[in-house]
């Protein structure tokens, strides 16, 4: 097999990751390309545009306020986004229950306005941002990222947001700041799942400062052209595409710069399985199951896509060209 590792945003084996219809489409495109390269390029561009608009009309109900953003194709995968309905009904958000369907059914109780985010800790200028200030802090971008859950499934999500680094720079980290931790709202009345002591609430996740400053690390306010639905972490969440999904804290109320490596909620709960880094890695699976392959959600087909083959998981979720240098010389088995 001609696996190509660390090719940035391109998936290594196109036939493995592209839905069959699209793959067939590409065959047509290749035929067209034989006729003329210009025609081919046009076909590719329109194919991508068509896929996007198709995906948008398929799902996004237009019930939520629109969020304007420019597409940043330099940071986007060309894969077809997962249908909106899957992204908003298949969620892990234990604050609303542990079943995948709980968040979409129960997150209505969350009030996302007014909302403030405290940014403090090892900073020269601690600040409390209102959500409207944050929405205007930096230009909003659409970025189509791959999303890999530690449970072995994956999606492709058109997020809207801007790099977290904009916020961090605004508060001027001190020389002591080595890590960033971000904390989810604690409110059992609005988040009924917090009445269950499954995890230590509030949910806490964190990054090393250089990871947090990385341009791929997205402070995220929306998806599919609209503000985030509650079940996906409204009004703002973290998205770190080369790490497992649980690193992306949702409904964040506080961002703290700290000197010591934080103990995250999952590290506290099951330390032998969930490490601080949690980079996507097909060769390291301290959990119960292998991380070698993943199930791409929403491909369709007979029996809801039951018999579609799994796809191989990529080191750093395919973002190795951008982030591998952050871990140079580190034993990824030890620092999982």
């Amino acid at each position: 097999m001609s696996k190509r590792r660390d090719q940035g945003f391109e998936h290594p084996v196109a036939s493995d990751i592209t839905p069959r219809e699209m793959y067939r489409d590409r065959r047509h495109w290749l035929a067209a390309a034989a006729v003329g390269a210009a025609a081919g390029v046009a076909a590719l561009t329109s194919r991508h545009a068509r896929a996007l608009s198709q995906a948008a009309t398929q799902g996004a109900p237009g019930k939520l306020p629109a969020l304007a953003a420019r597409n940043n194709s330099a940071f986007s995968t060309t894969q077809t986004p997962t249908p909106y309905k899957d992204i908003v009904t298949y969620n892990n958000f234990y604050e609303f229950g542990t079943s995948k369907s709980d968040p979409s059914q129960r997150a209505g109780s969350l009030r996302t306005r007014p909302w403030t985010v405290v940014v403090d800790g090892e900073v020269h200028k601690p600040r409390t941002f209102g959500i409207d200030d944050l929405l205007k802090l930096a230009p909003m971008e659409e970025r189509i990222y791959r999303h890999r859950c530690v449970e072995g499934w994956a999606m492709v999500v058109p997020w809207l947001g801007y790099p977290l680094s904009h916020v961090l720079k605004a508060v001027e980290p001190t020389a002591n700041a080595k890590y960033v931790q971000y904390i989810t709202l604690l409110d059992p009345a609005e988040m009924p799942g917090q009445n269950d002591p499954i995890l230590q609430w509030p949910y806490l996740e964190g990054l090393r400062l250089d990871e947090a400053m990385h341009p791929l690390t997205l402070l995220t306010f929306g998806l599919y052209g609209e503000v985030l639905p509650n079940q996906d972490g409204a009004p703002l969440r973290m998205v770190i595409p080369w790490k497992y999904g649980f690193k992306g804290g949702k409904s964040i109320v506080r961002i703290q710069l700290v000197e010591k490596q934080p103990v995250t909620s999952w590290m506290r709960a099951v330390p032998q399985w969930y490490g601080f880094y949690s980079n996507v890695n097909p060769d390291v699976s301290p959990q119960n199951w292998s991380q070698a392959t993943e199930r791409l959600i929403g491909q369709g087909g007979a029996f809801g896509g039951l018999f579609a083959p799994r796809v191989p998981t990529q080191l750093f979720n395919g973002y190795g060209a951008q982030v591998a240098h952050l871990y140079q010389g580190m034993d990824l088995r030890r620092f999982f």
């Binding site: 899957d86 298949y90 542990t98 449970e151 199951w289 392959t293 199930r295 029996f303 039951l306 799994r310």
Partner: protein, 223 residues
């Protein structure tokens, strides 16, 4: 209740429709799953739906099989014993479906991948072990095999179901640990502990009675 006048429940249990009815009931979870598949209703992650549903029903039927003897003893409804083999075979059938779904959908029928997974992850190994423990029981479930093995040996062999039950519950518990949500597996473990505990208690009491009877007998002989 005198043995000469069987209760309504016992008379109903003797009816010839009971076994086919239980057979159909045991098929319902599978039929429901197929129906959901045909109507595109397996959810965003059909693979997970199929694996979880078949695994859960395998475990439920295994516990139900283990509940037959205690229920029979507590209620006095001897007719319940007629359903034990049927339930046990269905537990095995769902376990096979569970295994096949994992082997085919997660590992793409690649034996090397599956083996790698089994040796590396105790959770998977436990599931495999439970299935392998059930296999000889399924194979020797016929009347012919009972005759060939002899009732005593057959019964000893079939005590493997106690081990299989424990390993299967462990597999379930270990799986839910990933979500740090072990409430349901803990409930299943409690039910299993009750079902096995009752057997231990009865065995201990029977042994004590035998000893007691023996002691009485000897004292009488002395008298």
């Amino acid at each position: 209740m005198t043995p000469s006048a069987p209760s309504l429940a016992r008379r109903l249990l003797r009816h010839k429709v009971v076994k086919p009815a239980v057979f159909v009931l045991c098929l319902l979870p599978l039929l429901h799953l197929v129906w959901r598949g045909l109507s595109d209703d397996l959810g965003p992650n059909p693979e997970q739906t199929v694996i979880w549903t078949t695994g859960l029903w395998a475990l439920r039927l295994l516990l139900l099989t283990l509940a037959i003897t205690p229920l029979r003893k507590l209620s006095g409804w001897a007719e319940l014993a007629r359903l034990r083999r049927l339930l046990g075979l269905f537990a095995f059938a769902y376990a096979m479906l569970h295994f096949t779904a994992w082997f085919g959908l997660v590992n793409g029928f690649h034996a090397d991948m599956a083996l790698h997974d089994i040796v590396r992850h105790p959770f998977v190994l436990a599931g495999m072990t439970a299935l392998l423990l059930l296999l000889p029981l399924a194979l020797t479930s016929t009347n012919g095999m009972i005759k060939r093995l002899g009732a005593a040996r057959w019964q000893r062999l079939h005590r493997l179901i106690y081990v299989a039950g424990a390993v299967a519950v462990f597999h379930f518990w270990w799986g839910k640990l990933a979500k740090n949500n072990t409430a349901t597996p803990t409930a299943y473990a409690a039910i299993l502990a009750l079902l096995l505990g009752l057997r231990l208690w009865w065995a201990w009491r029977a042994a004590r009675n035998r000893r007691g009877a023996g002691a009485q007998g000897s004292s009488r002989s002395l008298a």
